[in-house]
């Protein structure tokens, strides 16, 4: 599969995302934010970092990059788009995902491993995660507190768009397991069409046991599985 990883000024997890897809046996290409085309992309990763120095709001300037027009088009045509950390912020600013990410409730930058409960395996981003498996993946953010108004939140829940929630090691959704104050412990969501997802944790930093956890690999495995199923259907 051909992954495209976007690169904005001050993206800093772009190379990690490329590395993660390559160790899984797939090809990945970096696409600079000024480009208008995603070429032969099968899936797009909007990586973490501090695009445009987080000026104004996280992701607020990156969303107007020329490449984001191509990403919108790609998503409209059912392409798979995964936003990680700053990439999640960019996708909410771009209106591709509902809600917003605001300052962590304790005003601290959190850099640690957390546990994630997968809410549904009914998505191209979670299908290969075994039922009941609690993922251990790192977070590294200062503005990861998910917010949406009550109506949006109710709609997300009703349409099964919560993908991951912060939990304890046993999978309980508790206040102490919530690192940033996110509403309903939300760590990641998808859009209504289920082809665009975003999460604050970094699965690309947890794809090899050497890095302390390989649980993030299950998210990439899910994306690859979804792409391969699409190809098989098209054949």
């Amino acid at each position: 599969m051909n992954f495209v990883v976007l690169q904005f000024p001050a993206s800093n997890c772009d190379q990690d995302a490329v590395h993660a897809t390559r160790i899984l046996g797939h090809s990945a290409r970096l696409v600079w934010h000024k480009e208008n085309s995603l070429g032969d992309a099968d899936a797009v990763i909007v990586p973490g970092g501090f695009s445009y120095g987080d000026y104004l709001r996280c992701g607020a300037i990156a969303r107007f990059s020329p490449v984001m027009q191509a990403v919108k088009q790609f998503a409209e045509n059912d392409g798979l788009v995964l936003g990680i950390c700053n990439g999640f912020q960019v996708l909410t600013e771009a209106g591709l995902l509902p809600g917003a990410l605001i300052r962590n409730r304790d005003l601290q930058f959190h850099c640690e491993h957390v546990y994630l409960k997968t809410v549904t395996t009914d998505s191209p981003f979670t299908s290969q995660i075994p039922s009941g498996k609690i993922l251990r993946v790192p977070i590294a953010h200062g503005e990861g507190c998910y917010f949406a108004d009550e109506q949006t939140l109710a709609s997300l829940k009703a349409k099964n768009q919560f993908l991951w929630q912060y939990s304890d090691a046993a999978g309980n959704i508790t206040e102490t397991a919530n690192p940033n104050g996110a509403l309903q412990n939300i760590a990641g969501i998808c859009n209504e069409k289920r082809n665009v997802a975003g999460l604050m944790p970094h699965p690309e930093r947890a794809c090899e046991p050497l890095l302390g956890s390989a649980d993030g690999k299950l998210i990439f495995d899910s994306v690859i599985h979804a792409l391969q199923s699409r190809l098989a259907k098209a054949a």
């Binding site: 600013e93 300052r103 962590n104 409730r105 507190c145 104050g181």
Partner: protein
């Protein structure tokens, strides 16, 4: 002309900065502080004299870019 835009967090949005500043004010002995909201202030210098046209343009920019309507409100003044 000069435009002034004040961006503030919506009431329903958690504002940890505002809360922290409020607590600090209380600790310093300032009384009667009911709430603090920390936002942003933008000053934009403009060419021309047509205030109405400037207002229209900046309202558009404030809605699309300078504020995020999901979490923020803004006020625009032109002088």
């Amino acid at each position: 002309m000069k435009a002034k835009i004040i961006v503030t967090p919506k009431k329903a949005v958690l504002d940890p900065q505002g809360k922290t500043v409020q607590t600090a004010l209380e600790h310093m002995g300032y009384r009667g502080v009911k709430a603090v909201h920390v936002g942003k202030y933008l000053e934009i210098e403009l060419d021309g004299t047509d205030k109405e046209a400037a207002r229209q343009q900046l309202n558009d920019a404030a809605h699309k870019f300078l504020s995020n309507p999901v979490i923020e409100d803004y006020k625009l003044e032109i002088e």
